[in-house]
Symmetry: C2
Subunit: 110 residues, 2 copies
Amino acid sequence: MNDRTQLLKGTLEGCILQVIRGEEAYGYEISEKLRMAGFPTVSEGTIYPLLLRLEKNGLLTATYRDSPYGPRRKYYRLTELGELALKDFYRQWRELVSCVDRLFAGNEGE
Amino acid sequence: MNDRTQLLKGTLEGCILQVIRGEEAYGYEISEKLRMAGFPTVSEGTIYPLLLRLEKNGLLTATYRDSPYGPRRKYYRLTELGELALKDFYRQWRELVSCVDRLFAGNEGE
DNA sequence: ATCACATACCTTGTCATACAAGTTAGTTGG
DNA sequence: CCAACTAACTTGTATGACAAGGTATGTGAT
């Protein structure tokens, strides 16, 4: 009925910002890292539009670089605005988690 | 840019099931309880369609009862299917939380 | 050379769902 | 009578995840 895709809404954007935060990364790499973090496979139809949107909104900047293994890669870096958005996301995320926890407190084991 | 509404996607459904789980409740009451749990005010344009959808999908059953204070209330109860869906939601929710936590582990304080 | 496969990026169209704004109704109190 | 609260519902809009498909480059096997 309701698959995980609805749960991901909004979360993914923040998680991608977090992945890029440490060091610049390109799309294909980001989806690998998310998979390694345990996320269900993130579709390319999800990730590329999202990256373009973040770039357009000024949270990311991009530069193309050649790859030794295939076509050139588009590396993304966080802007100042991106850092702020990331902090903001994490704050809101923690708040949501604590609300849900409060609601489910007492009957986890059932 | 991205307000909390996107973060709520999918989460709300499970939380409403959880509110109803303990004892039957009606829409207006549910939105109050969510607010008390710390959720940002949940719009009526959100909650009533959601309840109708859950009813239509067989996760909830409803009975009307008179109210001493206003128009009659529509009380919802969880079905077997609803209980299963709730368990399923919580499992997926915990999984998502642990993925995000894994990603952000190490630099919470910044 | 050719074919399969992995890498790498992008586009189009579809679906689910949260919300704003508005509608209809009942009750209570000034 | 009117305002305020309770209570449910409808319509229209925007967002964002995804499936499916397209383009292109490099590597290794046949």
